[in-house]
């Protein structure tokens, strides 16, 4: 959470000659991060980010306490001025005459309250308004402003009831039942989820949604005479649950949900009483009710010098460690090289282990004072071995042949999703509600978006598609897809043929019907009998689209290509032109010719003109030169087989 603090307010608690910029710089290096300093006429405002674990820092006093530990490390003399509340005139007692509370101490670890009579509601003084407003809190009236002021100054939320609205001067602090209704002082009415902390008065009415927002029924207004000042420690889990469920994210709730210090309650109520006397003319009761069955017992954490030095990576004298920790109000007792640390109450929530103590030592020592060195030691030798290099090579090849890589969003609208696509519970919108099971719609969209470009282009993407599996995470199938705009089918297919040839994967193409492709304009790409991808003309468009399963390509592509002896005997090459009947699949003609004889080492289509197809045939025996008679024999075989199987005739 971010807090804003006026420099002059900070100096109520912090005695230092350091300028705001200096305070900000060193706080950021060793403690909470000062994001910005806003310059005012005669003052400055610090904008400070307090991390969720350090709720003790989320106040003016909390920041002063940190600064008093940090600044001396940079040679700046600094003192923390303690909270000065004259406590001798008040008693903390278990019972009082003006209130009969029943408290569930699981929900409220410390319950204090005091009655303040004859309060005069008015505006708070200018200096207080200025401090509140610089922190982003609007001044309302002196009673409410005092509560907010104490919360910002000390980090302890404070509440005030109109005492005369509490029926029977009775309070029951309890867990809510599901469906109970409470109206908060902002006028909103809530039906409670159950398990929320509520306060019921003597008439059985809910008068407070404790720790989150006061109840409308007991709210202080301009006619209020007597105020019940109310300072508590609540169960953070219960507060968070209610605050999240009702979406009531008040400052008080965001503080309470992180677990406040029970020991902070006492100075907070005393400071508040003092302000009530000064600013409202109210007369406080001498007895403050205090229900606190389990007072803070000092938490102890142990840590060894060896551990500190190993994790820090440097040696550090014991007395320095003691000094750093003492400055943060930890007590230290060394026994040999073992240190016993007493944790102050305000740090009890975030300090659990020796690692936590280490962090305190390390940051006050200063991370900037540590050297920098890459670790020595063994290099791991057991990679899980995904094919990152292979994947990058695929991309490089496609880019080399003119493809442009795109990244499109994996989240797609319903019309792009497959039937069983996974659906998000909380999408940003219907445009990105499903996890895609194909890259095709995204690439078509990308191609359409570039329709204004007059030149032809092709776009490719390599990304996971997410195939659902029952009672398990989906299969994340890495897919390589490309879309061609302005290219012929043969040009697009040529890229696939070049790619698989470079990869050493023998492919065949089998005409099929497939979803998303124009009727009869699609083929499976197969290796042996395994389907590894598909290609075709996208439905209702001229785009050619193909996709591959990358894992299959990686598996089928040989890792090592063996050397083959270069034949001493040259191949004989000749072109034969056939007239083929309409609707002949040329791929099958080539396959047929190729399979006739081992000595036909290669067949390529070199030219197409109307129904005339020119094939280039390589006749080759690696062990000898073929005689003209032998070639003649093979040629005859080719001619007859093309004639018999396809009805093709040689064009003379």
């Amino acid at each position: 959470m971010d807090i804003k603090i006026l420099d002059s307010w900070l100096r109520d608690y912090l005695k230092t000659s350091a300028k705001p910029e200096v305070v900000a710089k060193y706080l950021s290096l060793c403690g909470p991060s000062v994001e910005r300093i806003e310059r005012l006429d005669k003052d400055s405002v610090y904008d400070i980010e307090v991390t969720t674990n350090r709720i003790d820092e989320a106040s003016v006093y909390g920041i002063a306490r940190e600064a008093s530990a940090i600044l001396p490390r940079f040679g700046i003399k600094t003192n923390l001025k303690p909270i000065k509340s004259a406590s001798s005139e008040f008693n903390f007692v278990r019972k009082v005459s003006y209130l009969t509370p029943t408290v569930d101490t699981k929900l409220c670890q410390r319950f204090t309250a005091v009655l303040i009579k004859n309060v005069k509601i008015s505006n708070c003084p200018y200096w207080m308004q200025e401090r509140l407003e610089s922190a982003g809190v609007r001044a309302i009236n002196n009673v409410i402003d005092i509560s907010n002021y104490i919360m910002l100054a000390l980090g302890q939320p404070v509440h005030t009831f109109d005492y005369d609205k509490i029926k029977g001067a009775k309070m029951v602090l309890r867990e809510s039942k599901k469906g109970e209704i409470v109206k908060t002082l902002d006028g909103k009415q809530f039906s409670l989820p159950g398990g929320d902390i509520v306060i019921e008065d003597g008439a059985g009415r809910l008068i407070d949604l404790a720790g989150i927002m006061g109840g409308d029924l007991s709210a202080v207004d301009e006619n209020t005479k007597n105020v019940l000042l109310f300072v508590q420690t609540y169960n953070p889990v219960a507060i968070r649950k209610t605050s999240m469920a009702l979406a009531q994210r008040t400052i008080a709730a965001t503080i309470f949900e992180k677990g406040t210090d029970t020991e902070l309650v006492e100075p907070a109520i005393l400071e508040a009483i003092k302000l009530f006397k000064d600013l409202t003319g109210g007369i406080p009761e001498k007895n403050i009710i205090d229900i606190y069955p389990n007072p803070y017992k000092t938490k102890i954490v142990k840590i060894s010098l060896a551990f500190v030095e190993e994790r820090l990576g440097v040696t550090i004298p014991k007395k320095d460690i003691t000094n750093y920790l003492k400055a943060l109000e930890f007590e230290c007792v060394w026994s040999g090289n073992e240190l016993t640390v007493n944790v102050p109450s305000f740090r009890a929530k975030d300090i659990e282990t020796s690692e936590d103590i280490l962090e305190e030592i390390a940051r006050i020592y200063g991370y900037h004072n540590l050297p920098s060195k890459i670790m020595e030691g063994e290099i791991p030798t057991r990679p899980a071995n995904p094919e990152f290099n292979f994947e990058f090579q695929l991309k490089q090849m496609l880019a080399g042949w003119g493809g442009t890589e795109v990244y499109t969003l994996s989240l797609v609208p319903k019309e792009y999703a497959g039937e069983k696509s996974l659906k998000l519970k909380n999408p940003l919108g219907t445009e990105s509600e499903y996890l895609r099971t194909s890259l095709m719609p995204s690439l078509i969209l990308a191609a359409i978006q570039n329709a204004g470009i007059s030149e032809k282009f092709h776009l490719f993407e390599m990304a996971n598609v997410y195939i659902p599996r029952p009672n398990d995470l989906p299969e994340e199938r890495l897919t390589l897809s490309e879309i061609f705009s302005g290219y012929s089918y043969r040009e697009a297919k040529g890229i696939i043929e070049a790619l698989t040839e470079k990869l050493g994967i023998e492919t065949s193409f089998e005409s099929v019907e497939a979803k998303g492709f124009a009727a009869s304009k699609c083929a499976f790409i197969k290796c042996k009998n395994e389907e590894i991808g598909k290609i075709g003309v996208a439905e209702n468009s001229d785009f050619i689209y193909y996709e591959f399963d990358v894992a299959k390509l990686a598996k089928l592509s040989p890792k090592v290509v063996g050397f083959k002896e270069i034949s001493k005997y040259p191949a004989q090459i000749e072109d034969i032109t056939f007239d083929l009947p309409e609707k002949t699949r040329v791929g099958e003609v080539i396959k047929t010719i190729n399979n006739l004889q081992l000595t036909i080492s290669k067949v390529e289509l070199t030219d197409v003109y109307n129904n005339s197809y020119t094939f280039r045939i390589w006749y080759h025996n690696p062990n000898k030169t073929l005689t003209n008679e032998e070639v003649e024999g093979i040629r005859k075989e080719i001619l007859s087989s093309v004639k018999n199987k396809f009805g093709g005739t040689v064009k003379v």
Partner: protein, 336 residues
């Protein structure tokens, strides 16, 4: 003199460059006619030697000049008009995406110091993304990740299915895979968060570093991150650590790098000369335990940074809006 006239006549009669070359060899070659004469000078009477020498040299020079001249004539006679400035016929130029290039660069930088690149699920169990990282259900720290959840039944063991909001979800998976350290992992993957503005896209990439071994210290974390920053951004750049808080590391840091625009002096782009790179920290003992690694024997560090973020912070890229990185507009894509 005879030889001279004979040679000149032959040169003039030569039909092409090959013939000329033959004539040159016949007269001026190692055993050429003129060369032979030069060799014979020493046999002539002493008083004539000087004169003979001068004469032969003169002849030699005339022959050489004429050959050169004639050669040039031949070249001129075959000259045709040719324009070497005419534009070439380019192959279609393709483009690898900036994100891919950045991921490759990051992998290589870490590969050089022994990191293994891994890949872990993008659609992940709550347990790996949060619970095992010391963030039990309902923990306020979870608020920082605007997480997408999948509408699917929960697993009794691993909880909800979600889109991983950070690559840290690979930490415990890597520990469970390797079992016995050392671990030096770099996990680069897509991540998803419910946010979209000038500096956020709902889908983005992170790279997660994880090192676990005996005696790993903050000094090693600094060393590794410094090395990365200098390799990726330039040797003149410096990094610093500031205290921060993450549930899955203790201590935790925010890592800053000196601003590349002002060189660390302070300017509009940076905060007093520094830019935030991302988070890092020493792996929390509870996370090691979740990965079945003994925190008493081993320690480690981790960091998870945005690929887009480091890319945008590179000098000279100047992309004003992070969302533009994912544009499919060819006019943008073909710039890189």
């Amino acid at each position: 003199m005879n030889i001279k006239n004979q040679a000149l006549a032959q040169i003039m009669a030569a039909g092409d460059a090959t013939e000329l070359e033959q004539i040159r060899i016949d007269y001026l070659g190692r055993n050429g006619k003129l060369t032979d004469l030069i060799k014979k000078i020493k046999d002539a009477p002493e008083e004539e030697r000087k004169q003979i020498g001068l004469t032969i040299n003169e002849v030699k020079k005339s022959v050489e000049d004429l050959i050169a001249n004639q050669k040039n004539n031949f070249r001129e006679s075959v000259r045709v008009w040719f324009d070497p400035t005419i534009p070439g016929i380019k192959p279609k130029i393709g483009h690898i995406h900036l994100i891919t290039k950045t991921i490759e660069e990051i992998s290589q930088i870490f590969g050089r110091i022994g990191f293994e690149r891994e890949r872990y699920p993008e659609v992940e169990w709550d347990w790996f993304a949060f619970t095992s990282l010391n963030m039990p259900e309902g923990h306020p720290a979870r608020d920082e990740w605007e997480t997408f959840f999948i509408d699917a039944p929960e697993s009794p063991k691993y909880g909800k299915i979600l889109l991983t909001p950070q690559t840290s979800s690979g930490q415990v998976r890597e520990m469970l895979r390797v079992k016995v350290p050392p671990i030096r992992m770099i996990n680069i993957a897509k991540c998803y968060r419910r946010q979209s503005d000038i500096s956020h896209t709902p889908m983005f990439h992170q790279f997660e570093g994880l090192v676990i071994d005996k005696g790993i210290s903050i000094v090693n974390l600094k060393g590794t991150l410094d090395y990365f920053a200098k390799s990726f951004f330039g040797v003149e750049r410096k990094t610093r650590l500031r205290p921060y808080h993450f549930q899955f590391t203790e201590p935790s840091f925010e890592v800053d790098i000196t601003c590349g625009v002002c060189g660390g002096k302070g300017c509009k782009v940076c905060k007093a000369g520094w830019l935030e790179l991302g988070g890092a920290g020493m792996v929390h003992p509870n996370v090691l335990k979740a990965g079945k690694i003994d925190p008493k024997k081993y320690s480690g560090f981790a960091f998870g940074w945005g690929v887009e973020r480091v890319l945008m912070m590179k000098n000279g890229i100047n992309i004003p809006d992070l969302r533009m990185i994912y544009s499919t507009d060819l006019r943008y894509l073909s710039q890189f």
